[in-house]
Each structure stands twice: as C-alpha cells, then as structure tokens.
Symmetry: C2
Subunit: 132 residues, 2 copies
DNA sequence: ATTGGTGCAAATGCTTTGCATAAAG
DNA sequence: CTTTATGCAAAGCATTTGCACCAAT
C-alpha cells in the first residue's frame, strides 16, 4: 500500500473528526484540500484502510456506511432517527448495565452485540487454500 | 396494517428459518407458495414489519440486509467472509467473556456493542412535534 | 521501469417508488 | 365504499469498476 497524498489526507481528515463521517462527507472535507480528488478514490482508500485495520467501517441502520479513525476498542450509540453516531468506551470485561447508564444523552431502545469472525465452513475453506 | 396473504406467508417463511435470510432469499422461498408475488412486496412488508417490531432487520457487513423472525433478545455472530449469521443468546447482565467462549464454532476476530436510540437533538425534535 | 493509485464516467446491484389495479375492512 | 396493499417497471442512490493516465518506489 503506497503512501499517496490522497491517502494521507483522507486519513488525516478522518482522524481529525469524531463525527463518524460517511464516504461523501469525508469526500467534501478532503476536497477542500485536494480539489481534484474523486469520490472513487475516497471509497477505494476507505476500503483498503479498513481492510488493513487502520480505520474502522461502521455499518448501522442507514443506507450509507460510516467510518471511524479511532481503532481502539470502543462501542457506539446510533441514533435511529438521524443516523448520528457517538462513542462509548467498552472493553471485554465491562458490565453492560453500567454502559447503558452512560450513553451520552442518547435515549436507548435496545442494544446488540455483534461478533465478527469466520464460520466453520469458511475456516475450512481457508485451510484448504493454505494446504494447496 | 392489513393482514394480507402475502404478509402472512412472508412472516411464516421468515419464522420457519434460522438462516437470517436476505430479502431476495425470502422472496424465493415465498415465491414457491405465491408464484405471482413481487420482490417489491417482500421489501415493503419486511420494512413495515421491522418498523412495527414484529421482525428484526440485521445490518452487518455485506451489502444486503438480513432479516430475523426471532425478536427475542439475542445477539449474532457474523461471518466476515460469506456473510452467514448465527444466533447467540445474550441478555443485559451476561458476561461478555462467557459469550465469546460459545460462538457456534465461529472463529472470532472482534466484537462490537451497538446501542440503538435517539440522540439528544432528535429527542428534542420529537418533543416539539408532540407539543404542537 | 514497474506496479499500484487516480480521476472520470459508466456500470452494478440492492432497494425504493409511481402508478394502475386488486383486495381488505 | 374507502383505504391500504400489490405487481410491474422504472427510478434512486451508494458503491464499485474499467480504463487510460499518473505517481511512488
């Protein structure tokens, strides 16, 4: 992954904000500094950087994905009406009840625990590929 | 919300499976019983029923949304490769560490806690509407 | 020099919508 | 009867991709 001007500025702008912007919001911010950048470049870079674990892709309710420059372990509160997202500090061994008390003024309807991983079938497939 | 044949069969088919199907997967299943149903009807009904809290909309990594006929409080493991989703029993006061040990054979990379609610701005807006 | 990245425009693909018709209450 | 739902086709919209050109290593 080469260090291009576009990539650096996209990352800078993403790290600068706590608003969990969408690709096009970030595009607008980056465009102030790189007027000739294209939206496709923003998408491509966000995809690559999230695959590389440099940034986080957040997929909640809305149609658009959101991005987060903060990759430290933390969780989010999502507004079901406007789609806004705020941070919540969490860790493996914290108590869910306590978290619910501290939700940045959000009125909470429900919570969901999401685990990301590989299902048994896909683990097997991976093994096959490695063994070849 | 009227009780139509389409709506009933969509709900039946969704409740019949634990596979967390996408709209088009459900469309295929429903089509076996109602050959003239349209995909738009499936989308419209899934949207309405999830708004009404009768079913759950699941929005993880893939491009397609998935649906769950089980609205009891539980969480999911999501396969980052094939998009398959499995259930995990969770409740407000359970220990995250314990859950991680029981993830249906999935190899877990990370977990995320998602809270759904209304942000302070949207709570205020709602109040305004009510007061009018 | 080579490989990966960019900009542009066009294509994709899931989802939503407009509209005339049909069914529910 | 009135209103809501349906089917179909068309539109929407976020995201992705093909391609020629450019820049990083």
């Amino acid at each position: 992954m080469r260090i291009t001007n576009q990539r650096e500025i996209i990352l800078e702008e993403l790290r600068k904000t706590k608003s969990h912007p969408t690709a096009d919001e970030l595009f607008e911010a980056v465009r102030q500094r790189l007027p000739r950048i294209s939206l496709a470049t923003v998408y491509r870079n966000l995809e690559q950087m999230s695959d590389a674990g440099i940034i986080n892709k957040i997929e909640y309710g809305g149609r658009q994905k959101r991005f987060d420059g903060d990759v430290s372990p933390h969780s989010h509160v999502y507004c079901v009406k406007c789609g806004k997202i705020a941070d919540i500090e969490t860790s493996h061994d914290c108590d869910l009840k306590k978290i619910i008390l501290d939700t940045k003024g959000y009125k909470i309807f429900g919570e969901r625990l999401q685990f990301m991983g590989l299902c048994p079938d896909c683990q097997m497939e991976k093994r096959k590929i490695i063994e070849k």
